[in-house]
């Protein structure tokens, strides 16, 4: 395009942008470019020559038809050559002054807009533009120009003199200033604004000055002056606070506009501001006056005294360093008082000496008051060798030592197991597992007990040999001690289900009432899509710009951008809708609407609750015969796993404040989910997205942040199953699955509790969770760090990984108790949290 090539590159001007003053007419970019690219001396020379030429032309001004024009050219020339407006170099004000004053009485320029603009330009540089406007009115310059009234009114309005501004508009309209239509419109706009302001700040407007805006008749002026004078009279006895400026020479008096009774001449800006200028005086003998009395200066030096070591009061007879001379080696200087270390042929360590000195000091305080017989100096003086207290002290120290030993012995005894003499880790585990079998938890007993009697249906294969073994042991146990079982409330297990069974899910979804098809965002198609593999192939080919997917159901088209993640049956794509929103699309083959059902149920059951924002929102599902496409919100703030990795890449573990914050969030979500009988079933660090803010956002509120759970593909809606149903999974288990799963036992909510424990463990330790048996319970294989909040973590982990031991699940109340403790702690110690989060917000995008 032509104009594109002709255009001036902003970069040539950009460095100088601060030196350009915005003006009404703008600056020519071409002129600016030539100005900023010409070297300085050359430019100066050129400007000087041009200025001389212009000044020459001004001399012949009387010969011209339009004598104003050369001035306008001159001003334009300054504008082009000195974009920073008035400077000493440009002399803009002087030229404006010359121009404006030269034609002030020329009749045919009075209503020339060009001439008025010179004045207005000049007013911009004036200290008090109002003077200029008043002067113009007196001189009747711009009397019939709308521009004058507009500018004047505008100036008044900006300075919160709306009442006066209105007067100006009305005056202009009265004079039919041209263009009257524009003036009228401006006035109308003004009245609208005025009324708005009036409603908002009534009081303020009332206090506005209402003095006349245009010069009034002199008779009135005298009158008001007289009254002012008499009012002032009593004040004269008071001390003068303000010095009134007096012109000190006669000559000025003559030139003064006020002295001549009128404003025939406005004078130069220099003249008008002379009060503000200090006259130059010789510096010799000048004194800079100080505030306050001179004595205060002296006393102030005493206020903060510089600390000095009080050498005099110390005994300086011993050296505070020792020079060690070893033949053949450099002499060493050790900054230590060796006399303290070696006292009376005994050697003390630093701590011992410190202890002695401390004791010394503590004891010395009452000594001063009570024990008169002991000289105070003795207790204060440093050389401890001379101090009578030392033997006593060293003895007492020994006493303490022996005491602590005594204390430690019972401690050790209580902790140590009597059988622990020599053992390996595996031996210990063996022992523990023996214990475990004996004191097996009651609920487990009950489950297996019932298995024999009343099974409704079971989807899994045969029981493993292991659990048979378990059962026989248990049966033996119950026979031996039938009392224990009868005393405990036994949750009746009605059925044991494999929650992953797609047939079962299908059956459940089919029987829903109301049926899934009534759900908002559910689009069912009776055709095959057969796109999954094509999409993946195209995405992998990086032809991302042209991978579109269109759903007929609601006419939505999505542009798939990239593959976010992949599972066994599903792929998640980042997609851009036609509206420009980013969505995550989860494509699944074979089709499944289970996750859609769960998410919509959560949305319904938790409707209006705050916690919903911690769960991924699902927009719609497009269900084909062969494939399904779930449209989810896209969160781009990473997962908890990203946080762990971010810290790990710096060789650190996640900050504990942050872990506690996220733990609270996790517990909150899981409490809510369980309260509506939904099990997430697949909690792990990479299924917890972060609900953080953009790095650029200013939000300092931690409540706007949190987590967002994703991937509800394995979730279970307990309301679909008979009461007290339990589950048995068929997938291959690992350390991230709860102990019940790993041991082939049935489970329900345990999966989530263990999942949370796993997430927290990953954050704290930077590694996946591992548990070990410990006397019938499970415990973490890793031990908590000393400096962590053990009193918080210990009970939480205990609750989470031993959730079966509480009897009836879910244990929402216990979880809540734990959470409240965490919240309490964070309330007290959470101050660094927001800074940590903000750091991460810049670290994870």
């Amino acid at each position: 395009m032509d104009i594109y090539h002709d255009a001036v590159d902003f970069e040539t001007i950009e460095d100088q942008k601060e030196n350009i003053e915005p003006t009404r007419d703008g600056h020519s970019a071409t002129a600016l470019k030539s100005l900023f690219t010409t070297p300085n001396p050359q430019l100066k020379k050129k400007q000087f020559e041009e200025r001389v030429k212009i000044e020459e032309s001004l001399k012949d001004i009387d010969e011209l038809d339009d004598p104003l024009q050369p001035y306008l050219d001159y001003i334009q020339w300054i504008n082009n050559n000195y974009p920073s407006g008035h400077t000493v170099e440009s002399g803009l004000i002087q030229v404006l002054e010359r121009c404006s004053s030269q034609f002030r009485d020329v009749l045919y320029y009075k209503n020339d807009p060009r001439y008025l603009k010179v004045w207005l330009n000049y007013a911009k540089y004036s200290e008090n533009p109002r003077d200029i406007f008043v002067y113009l009115s007196r001189k009747e310059i711009g009397k019939s120009l709308a521009l004058y009234y507009e500018e004047y009114a505008n100036y008044l309005e900006v300075n919160n003199r709306n009442f006066q501004a209105e007067k100006v508009y009305l005056e202009g309209i009265r004079h039919m200033a041209r263009p009257i239509a524009r003036l009228q419109r401006r006035y109308n706009e003004f009245t609208v604004r005025y009324k708005q302001k009036e409603q908002q700040q009534e009081d303020l407007l009332k206090n506005e000055p209402q003095s006349p805006v245009f010069p009034v008749r002199s008779a009135l002026a005298v009158k008001s002056g007289g009254s002012l004078f008499s009012y002032d009279a009593p004040k004269s006895s008071q001390k003068r606070k303000l010095d009134v400026f007096n012109d000190d020479d006669e000559e000025n008096e003559k030139n003064s506009p006020i002295g001549r009774g009128g404003w025939d001449n406005l004078g130069t800006s220099k003249y008008r501001n002379k009060e503000n200028k200090l006259e130059a005086q010789p510096w010799a003998g000048e004194m800079l006056k100080q505030n306050g009395k001179s004595s205060s200066l002296k006393s102030s030096t005493n206020k903060i005294s510089v600390f000095k070591d009080d050498f005099a009061s110390h005994d300086t007879s011993f050296p505070v360093y020792k020079i060690i001379k070893t033949p053949g080696k450099k002499t060493e200087k050790v900054d230590l008082n060796f006399d303290l270390l070696y006292q009376k042929n005994e050697e003390y360590c630093i701590e011992e000496i410190l202890f002695m000195m401390r004791n010394n000091n503590i004891k010395s305080v009452p000594a001063e008051e009570i024990e008169v017989d002991r000289p105070i100096e003795a207790s204060k003086n440093l050389p401890i060798t001379n101090n009578p207290l030392i033997p006593k002290n060293s003895k007492s120290k020994k006493n303490i030592e022996s005491e602590t030993i005594h204390l430690q012995i019972p401690n050790l005894k209580s902790k140590a197991s009597p059988t622990k003499t020599f053992f390996t880790k595996s031996a210990a585990e063996e022992v523990y597992s023996m214990f475990n079998q004996n004191i097996n938890d009651d609920k487990e007993k009950a489950n297996l007990y019932d298995e024999d009697n009343e099974f409704v249906y079971e989807y899994t294969e045969q029981l493993t040999a292991h659990s048979h073994q378990n059962k026989t042991i248990l049966n033996d146990l119950t026979e031996q001690n039938p009392k224990t079982t009868s005393e405990i409330e036994i949750p009746l297990v009605e059925c044991v289900v494999n929650p992953e069974d797609e047939n079962l899910k299908g059956l459940l979804l089919k029987d829903l009432s109301p049926s899934l098809s009534t759900y908002n965002g559910f689009y069912n198609y009776s055709s095959n899509m057969n796109m999954c593999s094509t999409l993946k192939k195209n995405i992998n080919l990086k032809q991302t710009r042209h991978v579109f997917i269109e759903f007929k159901g609601n006419q939505d088209t999505y542009n798939l951008r990239t593959l976010l993640g992949e599972g066994g049956y599903a792929s998640v794509y980042l997609a851009e809708s036609m509206e420009g929103d980013l969505k995550a699309i989860k494509s699944q083959r074979p089709a499944s609407s289970w996750e859609f059902y769960i998410l919509k149920q959560i949305e319904k059951r938790l409707h209006g609750k705050d916690v919903l924002k911690s769960i991924i929102a699902c927009k719609e599902i497009h269900l084909f015969e062969d494939e399904s496409y779930l449209v989810l919100d896209y969160i781009n703030k990473g997962t908890i796993l990203d946080i762990v990795n971010l810290y790990r890449s710096n060789g650190q573990n996640v900050d504990e404040h942050l872990v506690i914050f996220l733990t609270i969030e996790l517990l909150k979500v899981i409490e809510s989910l369980h309260s509506i009988n939904i099990i997430h079933g697949d909690l792990k660090p990479d299924n917890c997205m972060l609900r953080f803010n953009d790095a650029s956002s200013d939000d300092k509120n931690k409540n706007s942040r949190g987590i967002k759970l994703i991937d509800f593909g394995r979730s279970i809606d307990m309301t679909l199953f008979p009461k007290n149903s339990e589950f048995r999974s068929s997938w291959k288990t690992d350390q991230q699955d709860c102990s019940e799963m790993r041991e082939g036992k049935t489970w329900t909510y345990q999966a989530d509790y263990y999942g949370i424990a796993g997430i927290i463990h990953t954050m704290l330790f930077g590694s996946f969770i591992e548990t070990a048996h410990d006397g019938g319970k499970y415990k973490l294989a890793n031990s908590l760090k000393r400096y962590w909040q053990q009193e918080l973590w210990e009970p939480l982990f205990d609750t989470l990984i031993n959730s079966s031991s509480f009897g009836k699940l879910p244990i929402t109340d216990q979880i809540k108790d734990n959470r409240l403790k965490f919240e309490e702690w964070l309330e007290k110690n959470g101050s660094p949290l927001i800074a940590i989060i903000r750091n991460i917000e810049t670290g994870i995008k």
């Binding site: 395009m1 104009i3 594109y4 002709d6 255009a7 001036v8 590159d9 902003f10 970069e11 001007i13 950009e14 942008k17 601060e18 350009i20 915005p22 003006t23 009404r24 007419d25 703008g26 600056h27 020519s28 970019a29 071409t30 600016l32 334009q76 974009p83 524009r182 706009e189 990086k542 710009r545 542009n559 951008r561 990239t562 976010l564 980042l574 851009e576 036609m578 509206e579 420009g580 980013l582 781009n636 990473g638 997962t639 796993l641 990203d642 762990v644 990795n645 790990r648 660090p685 990479d686 953009d694 650029s696 956002s697 200013d698 990953t762 930077g766 590694s767 996946f768 994870i844 995008k845």
Partner: protein, 204 residues
């Protein structure tokens, strides 16, 4: 134990970046050029800068509306130029013309190593927005309330206009007479390159 790994995703669609840039540019221009009173704007943090965006519902809805349409066209590569003109309400004269040229980067083959990071793009955008802000120094001051703006899009002749009267075929390109032009820095994503240019009327 090896650390758990998973690559973090930092991806935003190119057309997304561009529409967003247009939206913030339009807002900045409307504020900087005083098309609407400054009370109508609030400051937000974006591109590491404090920008002003309108909070007037009508203007917001209007911008949102044409941005949505524009975005669809950008995705489909239908648009070559996006223009914001500032017009005198009374005379209908165009006094300023902000032009954004959208070019498609053609090198699709192979060069994966040249993938531009989001930070680099942001930095480029930041530089342009800064220039737009700084341009008030040389542009003529515009009176508040005397001007309005208009949007022109140079689109492929094959585009489908939505079935309402929001978009009409423009008869003239609303060029500025007696104009000077200044071009700004350009920025590019992996897929597009944007050039920015302003033409303005200069009274002599």
């Amino acid at each position: 134990m090896s650390p758990p790994t998973r690559s973090s995703i930092s991806f935003r669609g190119s057309s997304q970046i561009i529409s967003e840039f247009f939206e913030y540019s339009v807002n900045s221009i409307l504020y900087q050029r005083g098309i609407y009173p400054s009370d109508d704007f609030k400051s937000v943090k974006k591109y590491g800068l404090t920008l002003l965006v309108t909070h007037d519902e009508d203007i917001k809805a209007y911008i949102r509306k044409f941005m949505t349409q524009l975005h669809k066209w950008i995705i489909n590569d239908k648009v070559s130029t996006f223009v914001l003109v500032i017009v005198n309400k009374n005379t209908g004269e165009t006094v300023e013309r902000w032009q954004f040229n959208i070019a498609i980067n053609q090198e699709e083959e192979g060069e994966q190593s040249k993938q531009k990071s989001i930070e680099d793009i942001q930095r480029e955008i930041q530089a342009i927005i800064r220039q737009i802000t700084a341009s008030v120094t040389f542009l003529p001051t515009l009176e508040v309330n005397d001007y309005t703006f208009n949007i022109l899009v140079y689109a492929d002749s094959s585009v489908n206009l939505p079935n309402n009267n929001e978009w009409i075929d423009s008869q003239d390109s609303k060029l500025v007479n007696n104009s000077e032009s200044v071009k700004f820095k350009s920025f590019s994503t992996n897929e597009h390159k944007i050039d920015t240019l302003v033409s303005y009327k200069l009274d002599k």
